[in-house]
């Protein structure tokens, strides 16, 4: 689903991604871990077609970025830590806006489905301004799955959420992923990442330095693995 070869991203003379290689198969849930400044957000933005690579090849859902960016965007759902929602509109209106922008068919039905999925049917007519951060994040996920994408990118979705909200978010994430989508999620929260994802990659100083799966980790824990991969 996602193939990245020798990806380089420079901002002026600063190199953030330095020859990154990555392969994600369909249906995998990858947790992308790494220290601050490693380039996780930059990488996700490139996959999301919001940023252009300086060098290298990126393929998502069979299309090359940046040339076939529009085709990629139709198959991609993105949740970053800013909710990308309009506070002065209701939850329903936000979804309707994105649905119309994307040109979705059967929009009303789809909105009902999504609201049920994220557990916000009761609050559909309320202004997003009045939502708690947790509810906003759930609505953001709703927005991101509205067009039924094959690939989902989450950039630190648990940021700013308390325990209850995070648990609720996990439920939504799991049901979203269970529908066969390919997911890449960056996270600082190793414990959460361990339960949600089935594969863990560590990004450090612009390249992937280590990768493992839940199966391979069976006898140790993610924290130890993470620390080890950064120590090299």
């Amino acid at each position: 689903m996602i193939q990245v070869r020798k990806l380089v991203k420079r901002f002026g003379t600063k190199t953030v991604l330095n020859g990154l290689d990555l392969d994600v198969r369909e249906g995998e849930f990858v947790a992308l871990l790494g220290p601050n400044g490693a380039g996780k957000t930059t990488f996700l933005r490139i996959l999301a077609s919001l940023s252009q690579p300086s060098l290298g090849e990126v393929r998502v859902a069979g299309h090359r970025l940046p040339h076939q960016a529009a085709a990629v965007r139709a198959r991609l759902g993105v949740v970053s830590h800013t909710p990308l929602l309009y506070g002065d509109l209701t939850a329903q209106e936000n979804l309707r806006f994105y649905g119309r922008l994307y040109g979705l068919s059967d929009l009303t039905k789809r909105i009902d489905e999504v609201l049920a999925l994220i557990g916000l049917t009761a609050r559909r007519g309320d202004l997003v301004r009045t939502f708690s951060r947790g509810m906003q994040q759930r609505l953001a996920i709703g927005r991101a799955v509205l067009h039924d994408p094959d690939v989902m990118l989450f950039d630190e979705p648990h940021t700013g959420l308390d325990q209850d909200a995070s648990a609720m978010l996990d439920r939504v994430l799991k049901s979203v992923a269970a529908q066969g989508r390919t997911v890449v999620m960056t996270s600082h929260d190793l414990a959460r990442a361990e339960t949600l994802a089935t594969r863990y990659d560590v990004l450090s100083r612009g390249v992937i330095v280590a990768s493992t799966t839940r199966q391979q980790l069976r006898n140790s824990n993610l924290l130890a693995f993470y620390k080890r991969s950064l120590a090299d």
Binding site: L50, Q52, R75, L101, Y102, G103, D148
Partner: protein, 237 residues
């Protein structure tokens, strides 16, 4: 297994493009209708400027008539920057510009959607200022010909303003940047609009008005095309 076939409407690219423009414009108008922040700011500002002009230029009736066009357009130009700034800032601050950029539509659809909503705000403010000015200064401004000039001039202003606002909002000095960028390049619109309005208000001879209308139309067409071509470069990364 691409799910895309069932999810998206089957429509021509043009239809999708127009739909996206409509969605963006509607979103801006609906959100603004709820909060009315932007609109109130523009309107209050415009009215204050008109009143200040009254004290700044103490004039008798006949002189007043001849400066009306200039005062009006100066007011709209200043109030306009408030609206433009705010409209773009909302997207930038909430990061929702990314949300728009993620949509599988041509980027210029975002541009045109914004132009339509910005234009709507400006025209509504003008629609309120005109009768107020007429009332305060005893000049009848509620004439269709004048409204045409207002429309053409506003289009030129907003078309360039939206493009430049998208740039200004991404710079460090964002609030002061827009007027500085916008005013020098929008001077032809102001000149043409003021002269056409003047010509109209003082008798309406075609020869005094038509060349200015032509200039406005030429400006509008050229810059709409240009903005359409370069907007991508302004929002990409």
């Amino acid at each position: 297994m691409p799910r895309a076939e069932k999810t998206f409407r089957k429509e021509s690219p043009v239809s999708a493009f127009l739909r996206a423009i409509g969605a963006v414009a509607w979103k801006d108008l609906a959100a603004e209708f709820r909060s009315r922040e932007l609109f109130t700011a523009m309107l209050v500002f415009a009215l204050l400027v008109i009143i200040i002009f009254n004290f700044a230029l103490e004039l008798d009736i006949s002189t007043r008539r001849s400066v009306t066009s200039g005062v009006l357009w100066a007011t709209f130009a200043f109030a306009g920057t408030l609206g433009l700034n705010r409209s773009m800032s909302i997207e930038k601050d909430q990061g929702s510009l990314d949300g728009l950029l993620l949509a599988p539509v041509d980027r210029s659809a975002i541009y045109f959607g914004k132009v339509i909503s910005n234009l709507a705000f400006m025209l509504i403010v003008e629609a309120i200022v005109l009768p107020v000015y007429s009332f305060l200064y005893g000049v009848n401004l509620l004439q269709p010909g004048l409204m045409l000039i207002l429309l053409l001039g506003s289009i030129g202003y907003i078309v360039v303003g939206t493009l430049l606002a998208a740039m200004a909002v991404q710079s460090r000095t964002r609030d002061v940047m827009l007027p500085i960028l916008l005013f020098p390049v929008v001077i032809p619109v102001l000149i043409a609009a003021v002269k056409a309005s003047e010509g109209f208000l003082s008798g309406g001879e075609a020869a005094a008005i038509v060349p200015w209308l032509n200039l406005l139309i030429v400006y509008d067409v050229i810059f709409t095309s240009l903005a359409f071509m370069v907007f991508d470069y302004v929002v990409e990364e």
